[in-house]
Symmetry: C2
Subunit: 346 residues, 2 copies
């Protein structure tokens, strides 16, 4: 079992650096061999680390006073944030010091910095943001969640390759199924990009099973392991899903509060409800990953807590220990576009 | 109070004509003055009507042997379905015999026939499918749900006008708020069409309040009365929402079944849960409407029951009695595109 080192942007997130350090301590319980480099304000980070015996010998701190604020425009962060905790953490991945980076900071800045520093994998034109989501039968991965607001058929095909690699290496599914989100299951449905992508999937030899078109309600049903969609629709879809879970939870709480009898009922069933809550807990699905970059980059929700941050670290560790990017490069060499220049494949 | 006559496609839907006749009987309880013309197989419809005293004098039957199947391609239905219950019901709207039509049949065929027969309202280039959805604070309307898979900024602006007219006439909201679904709330976010649409909304005088960009989780929160999005994303969004509600309900059932104690808890709280179920009942939100056509057209879910079908009838009655299309034409004349030829506005 390898012992990956993960770079952590200690200053990113609403409750940083606390959730970062506490999250790292929690992650070490699940991955006792993992090491961390924390980038940020040493004066704030050190006293927090001192509280955790399992961090003292597994964390090195790289001090910087600079941090990217959550409101900063990506282009500005890129120009002015050379010494920011975020950029320095990315640099550690680029230099090979760290096998991956986790940040709960500014998403746009993280994407911009990661693209410029790490560059794309050979054969991939654009990165995609991917995240696991709960389904009736387990979990599936959904991408792109907004790295791109426009794209063509070949981008969708590449997202399929990336998502399948994620399902294979992180979920451990040998032959994942991939579906293209569309407005109907029939071949004639949808706009040009999605129909062309389906045509390409059907004619190529693939390292996964192409299931065809799927619809929005297939996500909850878990009809496929990988849901592929453009970043505009994917972003709105994921946030609608999150908003609907929140609405339903709100209705449920109101229901239990509505009478003495229902309050008592909740008291009786509270154990079962704790289990249900854990199952749909958004913190469990925290950790969106930027696929297609030449380095493992995981973005935690900015508002998460230490439990959620620990799960984001878990995603980075899984991706790093399973060498997802080497895997993607090999698969693209074998199954990617025929006209990819072989010279580009390292 | 006007007494609208509604044309019903008695042969559309999985359980037609039963749900259509039973639904009509239920709708008459809420709208005692409404009249119906049912199009379909008289031998099947008549005996069903005879069971309901409140239908006997309020329903006329127009017999036809022909019906559009749920698998029929729209173009084929259009060519070969001239005598179908669906087409004849649309004709009744076109001739003025009926103030609106409700069908639980083939969506694509209904849209194709309605577009060809009824045509667009002056100033509207494309129809949009709109449906109400539950929110934390009540209900909002979401459009387009898939009438178009592509469109430009002006289409989105027109959808905003249509959705606002729906919110004003059906929800009774004097000054509705309209939001454009996007990947973020900032002005710079999104692709060209959505940013241009926002720019147009900001520069025009409008009969509603333009709220700016909204995100997927704003739907559940009910941040605006009208959510505007392209048909591709809107269709996937609505189905994701439905799928998530189904997933959550499934989890909830499993939770209550998980132990004797939780089964007892459900027994105690069953009244409160019946209320919650009613609140998110998809049948309550049944009835997607085709806005922008020169006639009221409401599409019921094909798999609905009589309660759901009655709600779809309710949407048609609300739209017809509030003269939504006259309202839209007047608003477009006052607030629509400056270069709309006045001659086109009847």
């Amino acid at each position: 079992m390898p012992r990956p080192t993960i770079a952590l942007d200690a200053m990113g997130g609403d409750a940083a650096p606390n959730i970062v350090v506490e999250g790292a301590a929690l992650a070490r319980v699940r991955f006792p061999d993992v090491k961390f480099i924390m980038f940020g304000d040493k004066r704030k980070i050190s006293p927090l680390i001192d509280k955790h015996d399992n961090l003292k010998r597994s964390v090195s701190i790289y001090h910087t006073d600079d941090a990217v604020s959550s409101e900063e425009r990506p282009a500005v962060a890129l120009r002015q944030g050379r010494n920011s905790s975020m950029q320095l953490a990315i640099n550690a991945v680029n230099s090979g010091e760290a096998a991956g980076i986790v940040s709960a900071g500014n998403t746009g800045a993280l994407m911009a910095m990661a693209k410029v520093s790490l560059k794309m994998l050979p054969g991939i034109d654009r990165p995609a943001i991917a995240a696991p989501c709960p389904t009736k039968v387990g979990e599936s991965v959904l991408l792109d969640l907004g790295a791109n607001v426009e794209g063509d058929a070949e981008n969708l095909v590449q997202f399929g390759m990336l998502g399948a690699a994620f399902a294979r290496t992180v979920f451990g599914i040998e032959q994942p199924t991939v579906g293209l989100l569309n407005v109907g299951a029939e071949e004639v449905k949808g706009h040009d990009a999605v129909r062309q992508a389906a045509a390409i999937f059907r004619e190529r030899k693939l390292p996964f099973t192409f299931h065809g078109f799927v619809e929005g309600d297939d996500i909850g049903a878990g009809s496929v392991d990988v849901f592929v969609v453009d970043g505009f629709t994917g972003n709105i879809t994921l946030k609608t899903l999150e908003g609907t879970v929140r609405l339903y939870s709100e209705y449920l709480q109101q229901t239990f509060r509505s009478s003495l009898m229902s309050k008592f009922a909740y008291f009786l069933a509270r154990g079962a409800f704790a289990k249900m809550k854990a199952r749909i807990d958004p913190r469990r699905y925290n950790g969106a990953t930027f696929l297609g970059l030449n380095g493992v980059v995981v973005k935690s929700h900015g508002g998460t807590d230490s439990f959620g941050f620990a799960n984001a670290i878990g995603v980075a560790v899984d991706m790093a220990t399973n060498d997802i990017n080497d895997f993607i490069v090999r698969e693209l060499a074998e199954y990617g576009e025929q006209d990819v220049p072989q010279a580009r494949i390292v």
